[in-house]
Amino acid sequence: MKNFDRKKLNRLLTGSVVPLMFLIISLIAIPISKFTGVYLADQIVTRLVRNSFLVLSLLLPIMAGMGINFGMTLGAMAGQIGLIFINDWGIKGAPGLILAAIVSTPIAILLGYFGGKVLNRAKGREMITSMMLGLFISGIYQFFLLYLCGSVIPFKNPGLLLSRGYGVRNALNLITAKGFDSLLLIKIGGVNIPVGTFLIIGLICLFTVWFKNTKLGHDMRAVGQDMSVSGSAGIDVEKTRIQSIIISTVLACYGQIIYLQNIGTLNTYNGADQAALFAAASLLVGGATVAKATISNAIIGTALFHLMFLVMPVAGKYITGQAMIGEYFRMFVSYGVVTLALILHSWKRQKDKEMDRRLDREISSAPK
């Protein structure tokens, strides 16, 4: 029994070591950065609004054993296409955003289905494949926006197009900006709290909790732990995996719409590039692993990661006198935290295998 408790404690500790580490780093850097508490609080709230939905979209594929869905950029691109169309049609505010979501959902489903199919052919190396898939689709996305929009696909508003008459411009001001944020916006002591967007995020959390308890969610957990056992129990493994990617892609699509309405401008051609990196890093900073992630990992991670992201460059500038050092440092940390999490996961998996074997041996050789 004592043993069992220690195991539990260990799990708790390893689960919170990473978040704690980031909290400490940030706490040290905050005074150096000379930011005020109110400013930081306001910024953290903003970042939570912006990013947590995107981070939440990573949960399901992790549950289904497919690791971090670096292919969530597929969904982000779908969302951007939706927003561009709505911008052209001139529908403002929250209705515009909802319409954008409706327009981009079929695209996201299609891309997610394709992604799931591809990943089923790359079992055991889903993460690298989903990442390359994201880069591949981004080529097609660029082709679509640069050459088809305004030429094959008619655009009403020439202001959105490049001066040559077709192709979407590199940066767009979204007329749907703050569409969700401005619903129920309240201000507490200088901190803006967009309750409307938080409600949407709350909704997605509820969805995730509910989904985990459905038959499909249950099957996903089973498939994630052991494909062959699930398969022999009659669960359609391939289909379940595809469905997890489709849902993730669609959620990422909505996440990107929420992200962009908060920012207000769209960086047409490389706006989605880093989405997966930052979302993955946020989730992992929150204490998730490649095999297990929860809603609280996502929310805490988003807050911590962006706190660090905010504070580090400025602190770095004050310490070294070089502005770029902090900039590079936070990119290093973003990539580094994902690298570290991947390494630890892979290492642990091999160690676990050895441990299991040793345990079995001890049991089987125990005196009868």
Partner: protein, 536 residues
């Protein structure tokens, strides 16, 4: 009890794989609420028969089977395992198929979960029904109760001892409402004796509730203890179908292995002569952690120049012995080779000392499938003995000596009659028998003083079998190389070995001369000591 009716009736069932007959004219019945003990050596056809019964894909893919099967009064021909499940046949396989991160209850009801409809699932389909956890636990508990064991339905499978996992598997099968017949394939193999006793009691309880059971086990004591009827398979045929009452273990053992052999093939005993020779290797208290073939405590003396056979049923640990000595799986104990202590867990040292190994896993361990024959044959000699290497620039650069490699490969292709286009053909494109010959050539090329050969004839056709065995015998005679041959086929061992050791439950149970009476082998294989064993 004359009222009992047959639940399962197997009539004239036969099966061929690519012209290879594995089952011939099988007939027997399983009555309602009875336990049938099914025994047979490896390759006797037990698994093929169970695969047929359970509608496994391999059977359908290889052209189905002959004969008829009646289940519950109806003629059946299951196309896939789901058909069989639906009809009421449950099967518990040797390997666990459990999800480690799930609770006991979730595993018992895997993909049979009780669900509740919701508004959303009405629109979007059944898979979005919510899981009803309380009722899952309830059904799980009732299944566990039927077994009469203590299991907490809430605990995680990953945190349970191995013995309990077996019960979870069985609970899963009996939880199906319609289950009428449960097939248990070596369920006691991973259990301790007390756990095994509990399992046997559970089986009896189930049978009394009206569930029929086919019980496959190599532990003949369990078979005679719990079964109502015993069916013995040998070489794809039912040799005996008899009520269990009054049958003793020795009798069953004899049925299991005692085929009518032409005695000419059996080597005559010269054990005394062998045992006078000096000892080339002494194994003391060896344990090997090889999954599925665990060796617990093996002590063995191998004499110079002999052919020692090691036999035993699958999973008892005979394969673990050479794999452990060669350092391929974690092992412990002590090994003395040619008077010197040999370090364990060190493949390179073992090979350097002149010990070679032909692995039972030909395609997985024995061959570089995507490389040529000459690479395969000379690779070990090159890496370990620095042969087939040509130095350039005064030894600064050492290149492969392609010419010497070709010569060596050609020599063995000729000697062992390896059928191939030339020495550059990829190992992947050879037939099983010829692949095995390449493996032998690889070992011969090392000029070993002690050679372990594991399952040399597994999966190759009869003609090739004889060639492989002859090659081994010839090599032994010509070079006076000590050979240890590990095989599941007792007759093969008796035809080639000077002594035959039988392994059971990770230990050497006895060593017999090849011409010892067959039932003695059978008893040893089932883990029963005879009075007059060989050395121990």
């Amino acid at each position: 009890m004359s009222e009992t009716e047959a639940l399962l009736e197997i009539k004239n069932v036969g099966k061929e794989y690519d012209g290879n007959r594995v089952l011939k004219d099988i007939n027997f019945t399983v009555d309602k609420g009875k336990i049938v003990g099914l025994v047979g050596e490896n390759g006797a056809g037990k698994s093929t028969l169970m695969n047929i019964l359970f509608g496994m894909n391999v059977i359908v893919e290889t052209g189905g089977y002959e004969g008829e099967i009646y289940f519950d009064g109806k003629k059946v021909n299951f196309k896939d395992p789901v058909d069989a499940l639906n009809a009421g046949i449950g099967m518990v396989h040797q390997e666990f198929s459990l999800i480690p991160g799930f609770t006991v209850a979730e595993n018992i009801l895997l993909n049979m979960e009780k669900t509740q409809q919701s508004v959303i699932s009405k629109v979007l389909g059944k898979r979005l029904d919510t899981i009803d956890l309380p009722s899952i636990h309830e059904s799980a508990r009732s299944a566990i109760d039927k077994l009469g064991v203590q299991l907490d339905s809430q605990s995680l499978v990953s945190e349970m001892p191995v013995g309990h996992k077996q019960f979870i598997e069985i609970a899963r099968e009996i939880n199906r409402e319609k289950v009428k017949l449960i097939i248990l394939d070596e369920p006691t193999a991973v259990l301790t004796e007390t756990e095994a006793d509990i399992l046997l009691k559970s089986m009896r309880r189930l049978a009394d509730m009206g569930v029929s059971i086919i019980f496959i086990s190599h532990r003949l004591r369990e078979i005679t203890e719990v079964s109502d009827k015993i069916v013995v398979l040998r070489d794809g045929q039912v040799v005996v179908e008899t009520p269990a009452e009054g049958v003793d273990i020795g009798q069953v053992a004899k049925w299991m292995v005692g085929r009518d052999v032409d005695t000419e093939n059996i080597k005559t005993s010269k054990v005394d002569k062998i045992e006078n020779k000096e000892i080339i290797m002494e194994v003391k208290n060896l344990w090997v952690d090889m999954p599925g073939e665990t060796v617990k405590d093996v002590s063995l003396k191998i004499h110079q120049g002999e052919i020692l056979g090691i036999g035993g049923l699958a999973g008892q640990g005979k394969l673990g012995i050479p794999n452990g000595i060669m350092g391929l799986f974690p092992s412990g104990g002590e090994i003395i080779f040619e008077g010197k202590s040999l370090p364990l867990n060190n493949t390179l040292e073992a090979q350097k000392n002149g010990i070679s190994f032909v692995s039972e896993d030909r395609r997985g361990v024995g061959l570089l499938l995507d490389e040529s024959i000459d690479w395969n044959i000379t690779f070990n000699a090159m890496q370990i003995q620095e042969r087939f290497i040509k130095p350039y620039l005064g030894g600064l650069i050492k290149f492969r000596d392609d010419k010497a490699m070709k010569e060596c490969a050609d020599k063995y292709i000729d000697e062992l009659e390896i059928r191939c286009i030339n020495e550059k053909q990829l190992a992947r494109n050879l037939s099983g028998g010829n692949q095995q010959k390449v493996c032998l050539a690889k070992a011969f090329a090392m000029n070993p003083r002690l050679l372990f050969v594991s399952e040399p004839t597994r999966g190759i056709d009869i003609g090739a079998k004889r060639l492989v065995l002859n090659a081994l015998e010839k090599y032994n005679e010509e070079n006076n190389t000590t050979i240890v041959i590990i095989s599941s086929e007792l007759e093969e061992l008796r035809s080639i070995s000077d002594r035959v050791a039988i392994v059971c439950e990770g230990k050497i149970f006895g060593i017999l001369p090849p011409d010892a009476p067959v039932e003695k082998f059978g008893l040893l294989m089932s883990g029963i000591h005879t009075k007059e064993e060989g050395e121990k």
